[in-house]
């Protein structure tokens, strides 16, 4: 009898929250669908509550429209250990990236203590994961324009809105590879770090001082890229970065056969100035990489939800390769 009542109550609870797709634990969260900002923020709280020894949620700033900007910290202790940084969703329309970020967060909590590679990494380093790097843009992709890319900041002197957060960093800012037109999708902004979404990360990185790998995730094109985007000259560590990229891509492809190309930004995709990993590399973060996830144009930004988990799974293998290399090559 008691069992029946319990299951009735459970069912009622489920129905009550069903319309809000409100998961009560990260085990019932649906990783194979796209979520709203609210749902992702709820997920972060659930995950941190379920794994208080491993996961904590930090607020590194507030967006232009006042939304909190959160970073998940995965740490097994120590004091300001060397760290890996991963961000997803800096371009809000690239939905498979935020969705993959959510999956990575869960994966880390599942594999620590189970997978030798990840366990070794987390026993020595911290991982910072910013899942929704552009929350205003992300909210806008849900409410008004699914294909919005930039931030939502107002530009005085123009009726156009938003700055491309991947052209706003202080690396080759103002050079060819970004637009000075506020209406353009690659508008660099009036000055470097004008966007609070970018400045928040810059401040965090500079304050931390011990980040050893920085990985910024985009879609689409199926590429793994290293600096530079703003100039043709190769980074001093080009050979090593190329080797790491090659290994990471091999690991990725091994899972589902997804083909990736790799190389520097400027030779592989296009000239782009003011980009994230050019700045982080110039700060001395040697292992600076950008991913462009699935696909190669069939669906583009509107990647079917059925591809979220396979994309996250294969990308994770590449991330592990980069993280393990970072662990084994301290500098």
């Amino acid at each position: 009898m008691i069992e029946d009542v319990q299951s009735l109550l459970d069912e009622e609870q489920e129905q009550m929250f069903a319309s809000q797709s409100w998961a009560r634990s990260t085990n019932t969260f649906n990783y194979a669908t796209y979520h709203t900002l609210r749902e992702i923020y709820d997920f972060m709280d659930l995950l941190a509550a379920e794994h208080p020894q491993l996961v904590s949620k930090l607020q590194i700033g507030s967006s232009y429209e006042g939304r909190p900007i959160y970073v998940l910290k995965f740490s097994t202790g120590g004091n300001n250990r060397p760290a890996i940084w991963i961000d997803t969703g800096i371009h809000s329309r690239e939905w498979v990236t935020q969705a993959s970020g959510v999956w990575f967060a869960k994966k880390i909590t599942q594999d620590y203590g189970q997978d030798p590679t990840l366990t070794a990494i987390l026993d020595n380093m911290d991982i910072f994961l910013e899942i929704v790097t552009n929350p205003d843009g992300f909210a806008f992709t849900h409410s008004k324009n699914r294909l919005w890319r930039k931030t939502r900041s107002l530009t005085s002197g123009s009726t156009c809105i938003g700055v491309d957060p991947n052209r706003n960093w202080d690396a080759g800012f103002g050079k060819a590879g970004a637009s000075s037109n506020p209406c353009s999708e690659t508008y660099r902004g009036k000055f470097a770090n004008s966007e609070v979404e970018v400045k928040s990360i810059v401040d965090f990185v500079k304050d931390h001082r011990n980040i050893k790998a920085f990985i910024s995730i985009h879609s689409y094109s199926q590429l793994l890229l290293y600096p530079f985007g703003y100039k043709k000259e190769s980074p001093a560590d080009k050979d090593e970065l190329d080797q790491v990229a090659r290994s990471a891509v091999e690991a990725l492809t091994s899972l589902y056969g997804t083909k990736f190309k790799y190389g520097s930004i400027i030779t592989t995709i296009y000239q782009a100035s003011g980009g994230t990993i050019d700045w982080t590399y110039n700060q001395g973060i040697k292992y600076s990489f950008t991913f462009e996830l699935r696909d190669t144009g069939r669906y583009g930004f509107l990647l079917p939800a059925s591809q979220i988990v396979p994309t996250a799974q294969e990308t994770w293998l590449a991330l592990l390769t980069i993280m393990e290399h970072t662990l084994n090559h301290p500098y």
Binding site: R146, E185, L303
Partner: protein
Amino acid sequence: MQLRRQPLPAPRPGDPYPAAPLLALLLLLALQGAAAAPAGSGDPEDSGWRQDAELPRGLLSQAARAALHFFNFRASSPSALRVLAEVKEGRAWINQKKEYKVDLAFTTELYNPEEGKERLGKCSARVFFRNEKPRPAINITCTRLIEKKTRQEEDYRLYKYMKQLQNLLDVVSIPDSHGHIDPSLRPIWDLAFLGSSYVMWEKTTQFLHYYMAQLSVKQWKTNEDAIDFDYTVLLHEFSTQEMIPCHIHLVWYPGKPLKVKYHCQELQTPEEASGTEEGSAVAPTELSNF
């Protein structure tokens, strides 16, 4: 007619690609006499063409994309659409007007691959980029991926299906925000992709290339023999990352050449920086092949 393979010539300095397969390719093109070739297209060495050994980044991929859009449009077959698999080899020549002539070979996949069946087609093409002006001239031949009879039957099956489709005006976007296309609407997407191929062919230059992102139906008429389809599409231009809205009107009947009329909002130039939220200056150009 048999093609006799020429002995391998020594590679020229700075020539990264083996020349022999291309020689066979060029002979094949010359014999085929495919789509009209523009003036100055004869021997690669005449008309002020000099070989560009450096091959600007992405030029071969650009050429492959332009060629495939043209091929898909010309085939006018929504059941036989192809996408680029891999560029295999290529060479380019440039002239004083900064126009490019590109010879290349590449592989293709079906746009709608069947479960488990991965078919790779081979194409060879000659593409003329007219220094960022639209309408690159294309010569292209591809190996057959689908039996002609099968393709015709499949097109006709699609046609009959589409003839009885109704109530499409409620369909606001394909795919939806989650990338989902209802299987019953998949043929609409394919037909729209066919029409967009014409537009994307014309607009592809050595720097700009496009993907079809999302469409919405404006009008769907099947009372006449042909399918009369009016829709708006967002084309994603990759190098600028812009979303270009285009209004496309196509008329399709299986086995007949596709008819397309279109009008796109043009890409912003800095001088035209006006302000709308979606941010593109309106400089409509109406183009068609009617």
